[in-house]
């Protein structure tokens, strides 16, 4: 089985993040960039499947040059190789266009199974998995907290607001995962050394048969009109609990008409 894992590089969600003032895109140059956290769970799940059933694990990233760091980091966890789609024309791409590029690269790889994160921490769009599956005409099992593979049949369990669902499909398929699915491994020293020598293929849009005008700002289906920093919340009254902290809390609730 050939498993392609989608890995996105994103600005660290624990640090200050900004949009650029010149072209309204995510400021990646001044941010500290990391692997989208949910994608580490996707990598872990792929490696576990490989350990149990054999096969090959390939990392796929669409992103700027500097995403190479995250790809090497992903490889140090254990995958076999990586594909990096990088092209100046991609700057400014919307989700619809990004899904076109990812789908083309997945098709070229001939993946039996695509595993990705349920959502990215920068966009939080949660739409790419279904967009990609729609383009490829394959099943999308999204938001998995558990995945079982038996030959060509897949079963996931996913959380719903009411409880949970069990959903099945056959390969080829795409599965997106939440952080409840496993505990990602840390790269070993050996893994880090090995990652430096693993094959990393770089593809341009041309290699995927996509024209520059279909992506980037030219091909964008939505545009940012303006953006601004939200004024930070002001700290209000802070009291020491003393002996009557609970009562004072309720007095405040009452003054705000919550009780």
């Amino acid at each position: 089985m050939k498993i392609v894992v989608l890995v996105k590089q994103v600005p660290d969600s624990g640090a200050d993040r900004n949009l650029r003032s010149d072209d309204n895109t995510v400021d990646r140059a001044s941010a500290s960039n990391v692997i989208n956290e949910m994608d580490e769970y996707a990598i872990e799940e792929a490696l576990r499947l490989q350990e149990a059933h054999g096969g090959e694990v390939v990392i796929l990233t669409v992103g700027p040059d500097r995403a190479t760091e995250s790809i090497r980091k992903a490889l140090s966890m254990g995958p076999d190789s990586a594909v990096h789609v990088v092209d100046d024309a991609l700057h400014g791409s919307c989700a619809v266009a990004t899904s076109k590029v990812l789908a083309a690269a997945i098709a070229q790889q001939g993946a039996d199974l695509v595993i990705c994160g349920a959502e990215s921490t920068d966009g939080r769009v949660q739409v790419l998995p279904h967009m990609i599956a729609e383009r490829l005409g394959i099943a999308a099992l999204t938001g998995a907290r558990k995945l079982t593979v038996d030959g060509t049949s897949l079963t996931i369990e996913r959380q719903t607001d009411e409880g949970y669902e069990v959903v099945t499909a056959s390969t080829p398929a795409l599965v997106s995962v939440w952080d409840t699915i496993n505990d990602p491994r840390y790269p070993s020293f050996k893994g880090i050394m090995a990652a430096k020598k693993k094959p990393l293929q770089t593809l341009s849009l041309g290699d995927l048969g996509i024209a520059a005008g279909e992506v980037g700002f030219d091909g964008a289906t939505s545009t940012v009109v303006e953006h601004s920093k939200r004024p930070p919340r002001q700290a209000g009254n802070k009291i020491d609990a003393g002996d009557d902290g609970g009562s004072k809390l309720v007095e405040y609730l009452a003054s705000e008409k919550f009780v």
Partner: protein, 316 residues
């Protein structure tokens, strides 16, 4: 007036609050038609009418209920092509976003997700990066397909008597690839749903144990609110994952958010920053949660919360 489609989100035959919010928002944009994908439209009609739907498109049948969203997207895309609406609103839930994503690809159309406001020109407002940045954006190709974040506005009734039109459900094999073989409803109790609640009481690592979460539940119940949890509390096994608030959990925007034993990490703030009023109880006076609390109590939650609960009971 131009027609605006609102894709109904319901739970066990009852329209969710976000649906009523979308109907209210849609009325500012045009003539409102509700779209029911799966389930039964008849059970929902009264409520949809009460909030201003003048028409209901009903697409029903096992083929829609028994598979994940692909079929719903096929039906919605066909409807959009037939009626050419001025805009399409869906809930910013997992399902709403997934349907929107597929429809966008099918129609090669832009989409906006997690919108908290939408004006008549189709400009949507989004709050991103842990609540630090406000973005205004617009679909530049096709019609506005927009997912609306729950609790973004107050639903108001505007009674109408909707006509109901059955919509044909013509699916292909590609729409039936992900089959739902089991749907488990776990006991939910009387508490409001987290994303829709107007009061949320959340506990963090400071609550200390699953057993101690009873304190959080007790305060939530006294206030008629939902219970939330920080990721540290969830990871420690104190409370189930579906109640996690933050970056990788639910985004909530209630009238009142009470944080008990939560430090206020940026990823937690991401899910609760836009709450109207924030109260925090934490024994560490330097905890960052106090930077955004309207009212902060520095102290031991095991003393403060029981006392507060007692006080509320007395006042009742």
């Amino acid at each position: 007036m131009a027609e605006v489609l609102v894709v109904v989100e319901a739970s066990q035959g009852v329209a969710k609050k976000v649906t009523l919010e979308m109907l209210t928002l849609a009325r500012t944009l045009g003539d409102v038609s509700a779209v029911v994908l799966g389930g039964s439209a008849a059970a929902l009609a009264d409520k949809l009418g009460e909030f201003g739907a003048s028409k209901i498109y009903a697409a029903e049948g096992e083929d829609l209920d028994g598979y994940l969203v692909a079929g719903k997207a096929t039906v919605l895309a066909a409807l959009i092509q037939r009626v050419s609406p001025a805009a399409v609103l869906l809930a910013s839930s997992q399902e709403g976003k997934e349907i929107a994503g597929r429809v966008a690809v099918k129609l090669d159309n832009g989409l906006l997700t997690d919108v908290v406001a939408l004006d008549a020109d189709g400009v949507g407002t989004q709050v991103v990066f842990a609540g630090s940045t406000i973005v205004k954006s617009k679909v530049s190709k096709g019609l506005p397909i927009v997912t609306v974040r729950p609790n973004s506005l107050t639903p108001t009734p505007a009674p109408a008597t909707p006509s109901v039109e059955q919509v044909e459900v013509a699916l292909t094999d590609k729409d039936k690839l992900a089959k739902v073989v089991e749907r488990k409803v776990e006991a939910k109790g009387a508490r409001p749903e987290l994303a829709e609640a107007s009061i949320v009481v959340s506990g963090g690592r400071g609550v200390g144990s699953a057993d101690n979460f009873k304190l959080v539940e007790e305060l939530a119940d006294l206030l008629g609110g939902a219970v939330g949890a920080s990721r540290a509390a969830v990871d420690s096994g104190f409370y189930p994952h579906q109640f996690q608030v933050g970056q990788t959990g639910k985004t909530v925007s209630p009238q009142l958010y009470v944080a008990l034993g939560i430090s206020g990490a940026i990823q937690h703030r991401a899910g609760m920053q836009t709450s109207k009023t924030i109260i925090a109880v934490n024994k560490d006076a330097e905890a960052p949660i106090f930077e955004l609390a309207d009212f902060g109590v520095v102290g031991d939650l095991f003393k403060v919360v029981p006392q507060a609960a007692e006080e509320i009971r007395k006042r009742k």
